[in-house]
C-alpha cells in the first residue's frame, strides 16, 4: 500500500499540477521562502495559484466516477434499510404499542412525569408515535403513516373532522405521509389545545 503514503500522494498531486499547468511550475521551497510583494502581481498570482489548487485537490480524492459510484452505493444501502425498516417497525410496534401507557403510568407513579388522564383511548400511544415520527427520515415515513392512513378508525375520523381543503380526500387517495402527519397535528390541536372538536363529537362519529 505504498501508494497511500501522504508524501507520495503529494508528489503525485504536484505532477498532476505540473501536467495541467505546464507553464507554471509549483513553488519550490526556496521560492516559497521569498516574501511576496504586497499589492503586486506576485501576490495576485499567489492567490490565483491557490484557487487553481482547490479543484486539483478535490479531483485527487474524488473524481466524478468515484462520486457516482459512491452515490450509487449509498442509494443501494438506503434502499436495503428502507425495505427492512417496515419489518422492524411492525415488530417494535406489535410488542411495545400496548405497553406505552403502562410505561407512562409507571413514570407518573414514581413522580418522574405527570401524565394527564387520556381524553380518548390510546391517546398516549398515538402521541408517542407522532412524537417518534419527528425522528423518521422522509423516505421511511410511509412505513409509519401508511398503517394509520389505512386504518378504518382514522378514515372515519378524518371524514368527519373539520380539516381544511380536501385533506381527507387526498389522504384516502394518495396516503401521502406529509398529509397524514398534517392531519394528526390538526386533530391533536383541535382536540387537546383549542377544543374546537369535543370528545363527545368523536364518540358520536364512531357509533
Amino acid at each position: 500500500m505504498g501508494d497511500t503514503n501522504p508524501i507520495e500522494l503529494f508528489q503525485k498531486a504536484r505532477k498532476i499540477y505540473s501536467s495541467l499547468f505546464p507553464d507554471k511550475e509549483p513553488d519550490t521551497p526556496q521560492e516559497s521562502r521569498e516574501p511576496r510583494k504586497a499589492g503586486s502581481d506576485g501576490e495576485k498570482s499567489g492567490f490565483r495559484d491557490y484557487l487553481k489548487r482547490i479543484p486539483i485537490i478535490g479531483s485527487l480524492f474524488a473524481d466524478n466516477a468515484t462520486k457516482e459510484k459512491a452515490e450509487a452505493t449509498r442509494e443501494g444501502f438506503e434502499k436495503e434499510r428502507s425495505g427492512f425498516f417496515g419489518e422492524v417497525w411492525e415488530s417494535v410496534l406489535s410488542r411495545y404499542f400496548p405497553n406505552i401507557s403502562k410505561g407512562l403510568d409507571g413514570l407518573s407513579a414514581i413522580g418522574v412525569t405527570k401524565t394527564d388522564a387520556e381524553v380518548v383511548p390510546w391517546q398516549n400511544e398515538f402521541e408517542a408515535i407522532t412524537a417518534f415520527s419527528l425522528l423518521v427520515p422522509d423516505f421511511l415515513l410511509k412505513y409509519i403513516t401508511d398503517p394509520i392512513a389505512k386504518s378504518a378508525v382514522f378514515q372515519k375520523i378524518i371524514e368527519n373532522w373539520p380539516l381544511t381543503g380536501d385533506l381527507a380526500e387526498k389522504i384516502k387517495k394518495d396516503k401521502n405521509p406529509d398529509d397524514v402527519i398534517s392531519a394528526l397535528r390538526i386533530i391533536h390541536q383541535d382536540l387537546f389545545i383549542t377544543g374546537k372538536v369535543s370528545l363527545d363529537q368523536v364518540r358520536a362519529w364512531m357509533k
Binding site: 500500500m1 497511500t4 438506503e78 419489518e87 415488530s91
Partner: protein, 64 residues
C-alpha cells in the same frame, strides 16, 4: 451473539454510515427495542456499507 453485543457492534457502525443524522438518531432510539434477527440484519447491512466505502477509498488511493 447476545443483543447487547450486537448493539455494541451496531452503534459505532451507525456513526460511520452515510445515512443522514436524523436517521442515525432514529435507529439509535430503535435498536434497544429491536429483536435479535433484526439486529443481526442491521449489523450485516451496516458492515457491508462500511466495507464498501472503505474498499472504494483504498481503491481510489491505489489508482492515483
Amino acid at each position: 451473539m447476545e443483543n447487547e453485543t450486537l448493539i455494541k457492534k451496531i452503534t459505532p457502525l451507525l456513526q460511520s454510515s452515510t445515512m443522514e443524522p436524523k436517521e442515525k438518531a432514529m435507529w439509535t432510539l430503535l435498536i434497544p427495542s429491536m429483536e435479535k434477527p433484526h439486529l443481526e440484519k442491521l449489523l450485516d447491512i451496516l458492515t457491508r456499507e462500511t466495507n464498501a466505502f472503505t474498499e472504494m477509498y483504498f481503491d481510489e488511493l491505489k489508482n492515483r
